[in-house]
Point group: C2
Chain length 510, copies 2
């Protein structure tokens, strides 16, 4: 007869908190986005696939319709409706290595400045070894670095960011920067989902006294077990997708997170939360139209809390609250979109720029949105930006950033508009060939991947050079620059020289 | 001509810290380990495989040699040299669901008490959807729960624990418990590595005022890019293994982490760190012999820092410090083992119990060691336990726990010795058949997994009932108890009834 166990609860959670020093204003100090140099246009894809004109562009909201107030944004107009893609020589590791090395060099950081490196991705090329360890190749004299890979569909980047923020605020923090790297290579089987692919990796430096402070006390989360998008077929790079379910999961996550955020806001500040309290809203962006609907849905949720408030026009739909029917009710959707048209243009659309140019970068998508917002020069001191992260499966969080300093340095270092404009357009044929080549080599070993027909690699980019007979992956780097382009390095400091050489190389290339 | 970027560093890290409340004594409040009910004995496997007698038992240190001081430990003697295994109806999710539901019920916790759930595993059955989201099925009225899956070989559990500790100390903490779930199903291709498999999942409750406080300021890490063990063949459940490389990586990680921990200890306490400052040492345990060598190696490292100290006998080997040669030098190894023989028996061996009975549970291994230590009743108030976590690829940390309260409740709730003793022994034939069946179904869809010949599932265990045509995984549960066993439920509270019923069911089964 076994001993009876005592079902006693652990000691109560009430405790006498000890006052200790905790760094303040922890957030994002620096950012950079790496992406492939090749893209295919949605307009060309529509034609090639024999899809109706505008299906990919308007149906997915990739590019059109552009709010009237932004018609003058020549860069946005020129660069809308593009999807980035990788061939067989680019994988998630090579993009991440490029992002990290560029971030370090563009901000003049040494590898020794980094005390933690967290990765978020769902583009796994190994079921055990993390992408984080591959990145350790860039930190050869600094191996004392916590962090591994966080995984849950498109949410891994947010998990990695939260882990890093918490570390800086914890007693384990050693005073060094945290580095968060997130992004994916999003590819789909041939068919209607294929134009919703994309690629990109964001690297962010985290620490105290940041110009973009994360309001950690407000972060709000919703998680559930769902099968809206997943990768259960281990033998394929392509996901299993239930688009309709994914949309309703996304909208339900918006509902849950909005109310939880608003509740925390109320508890913390003593006043009700309204969308007017945020000057910007950035979303995980599978495609642009969903972003527009999501912001519109937030207005509906605000109307439920404040029926006589700014969105009183939506109050008559209150009976649809918390119902599945509300996810597909066309009248409600139309009313929400109408009620938020102007706000969407000014508060949301600027952050969709990278998404419209790269397609979906999964874990990188929300942070590509932040970099777009920085590039738009619309972030003012004391502004608040809502950040909504969603990963199928599902995991979602709504949190916010407060602008506490200038992000001009980040805008210049990232140089988003010019770098996107300098990419090379590939034909749909070249894109299809690249996808075929990826599929042929996926999961294989003992081969050296070949460039696809339209492949271009920027100076300084890393690429996959070989997968050996035992699945070990080897990487090489395109020389960071053409030395002869530099006539007089400004200073003999190696770091500065490398950077100047690199920049000159990029200038030459264009 | 693109704009020149300014290579300015972000604002300096020096900052005026703001004093805020941070919870104290954050650590492990409760723990539980779930494992399969079937095991195969290493002695029977040796015979079956035609390996030399003692090869698996002594060569791997699984079971023998037992230190003389522990000969009296009848439980250890009876249960040494066993390897747990799962058939096709048990996967990482089912083990985790069992671990979480048992932890909640044995400690009388409600799902609403949990504010964060972090998973560490490398037994991925999906490349996008995290095991964490599957566990959300157990928290149907509480979806506000941060955390996803942390992945890096056997290190994911430690990453998940660190994330959760940091969260409790951060401004984002909402006052609820954190829950860490880590473990794996370790299987190998037929051949010499197969007897180094195993299975198990540990669940741990994290919060302030814990009886096992994590000394976060001392945690020390070493990471590098290595190919010692990984899973690059996505089509197989089996890893690629380079055992020789793995051993030297493990030992190098011990060296690096030991010195970093000792440095931090010195900075924090103002005095030198010696192994005598820790009364216990728990290791990631691929097999027991490596644990013995690792503790011995720590003594060598201490001798390098204190040539006239407790391990002065090892000082003459100082010339081997930081050399690859030192990893394989037999004289050094022999001297280290001799110098630490008594300490190994008293400070390390008690924590190897679960590992010797379950085999390797990868991310669960170190924490199965902690549960073994708790079961050994050798933890005294104010004791310190060193914890060494290693994941191939590689990621390693050395940290420590301080005993600040009684762990008796955890010992009773986990009931390790009795539960291990109550398992069912399978023949090597049944074990081989179960492995074959796993291999046949791995990566497949549209099937209902069948029980293997020796399958036994404990009351209350979850199991995989179906993988549908689109790779969606469905789970069922063995009824938690035989209802007729309960004559008078103690109280009408549903939770209490469920628990009583469950306990009674287990008692009946034995």
């Amino acid at each position: 007869m076994p001993r009876r166990r005592s079902p006693k609860r652990p000691e109560k959670l009430t405790h006498v908190a000890r006052a200790v020093d905790r760094p303040s204003d922890v957030g994002i100090l620096a950012s950079y986005i790496a992406f492939p140099e090749t893209f295919v246009s949605q307009a060309a894809l529509e034609k090639f696939d024999g899809a109706g004109e505008g299906k990919y562009q308007i149906g997915l909201g990739q590019g059109a319709p552009r709010p009237r107030s932004l018609q003058a944004d020549a860069l946005a107009a020129a660069a809308a409706e593009k999807m980035a893609f990788c061939g067989p020589r680019e994988d998630i590791h090579s993009l991440m290595m490029t992002a990290v090395s560029e971030l370090l060099s563009r901000y003049g950081l040494s590898p020794a400045d980094i005390g933690r490196l967290e990765v978020g991705t769902e583009s796994l090329v190994d079921k055990s070894k993390s992408a984080k360890t591959t990145l350790m190749q860039l930190f050869s004299n600094n191996s004392a670095m916590e962090g591994v890979t966080s995984m849950n569909a498109c949410y891994g980047g947010t998990a990695a960011l939260f882990h890093t923020l918490d570390w800086v605020e914890s007693s384990a923090w050693d005073g060094r920067y945290g580095l968060v790297v997130c992004g994916d290579v999003a590819v789909y089987a041939p068919g209607p989902a294929r134009p919703t692919g994309g690629a990109g990796v964001v690297a962010m430096l985290v620490g105290p006294n940041a110009p973009l402070v994360v309001e950690s006390k407000l972060r709000s989360t919703h998680m559930e077990n769902a099968w809206d998008f997943y990768k259960g077929d281990l033998m394929s790079e392509y996901p299993q997708v239930d688009g309709k379910l994914s949309n309703s999961c996304y909208i339900r996550a918006i509902d849950k997170c909005f109310h939880r955020y608003a509740d925390k806001f109320e508890r913390t500040s003593g006043k009700a939360f309204n969308l007017a309290d945020a000057q910007h809203a950035v979303f995980h962006q599978p495609y642009t139209k969903l972003v527009q609907k999501s912001y519109a849905r937030m207005a509906f949720n605000e109307a439920l809390r404040e029926p006589a408030g700014a969105y009183k026009a939506l109050a008559p739909f209150a009976h649809l609250a918390d119902t599945e029917a509300s996810y597909v009710d066309k009248d409600l959707e139309k009313a929400c979109l109408a009620a938020t048209k102007a706000d969407f243009a000014s508060k949301v659309y600027p952050s969709t720029f990278a998404g419209r140019n790269l397609g979906n970068s999964y874990t990188g998508s929300l942070y590509a949105g932040l970099i777009s917002l920085i590039a738009s020069q619309s972030l003012k001191r004391d502004d608040r930006a809502l950040m909504f992260s969603y990963g199928s499966g599902l995991a979602a969080s709504l949190y916010s950033l407060r602008v506490a300093g200038s992000v001009e340095e980040q805008r210049i270092a990232c140089d988003l508009h010019a770098r996107l404009a300098a990419r090379v357009e590939a034909t749909p044929e070249a894109f299809s060939k690249a996808m075929e080549m990826r599929q042929m080599t996926y999961g294989r070993c003992d081969y050296a991947p070949q460039p696809h027909p339209a492949e271009t690699l920027a100076p300084g980019s890393y690429f996959l050079s070989r997968v050996d007979h035992n699945y070990r992956r080897e990487y090489a780097r395109v020389p960071p620059a053409v030395a002869r382009a530099v006539q007089k390095p400004a200073a003999p400091v190696e770091q500065a020289v490398r950077q100047a050489v690199h920049m000159a190389g990029r200038a030459l290339r264009r």
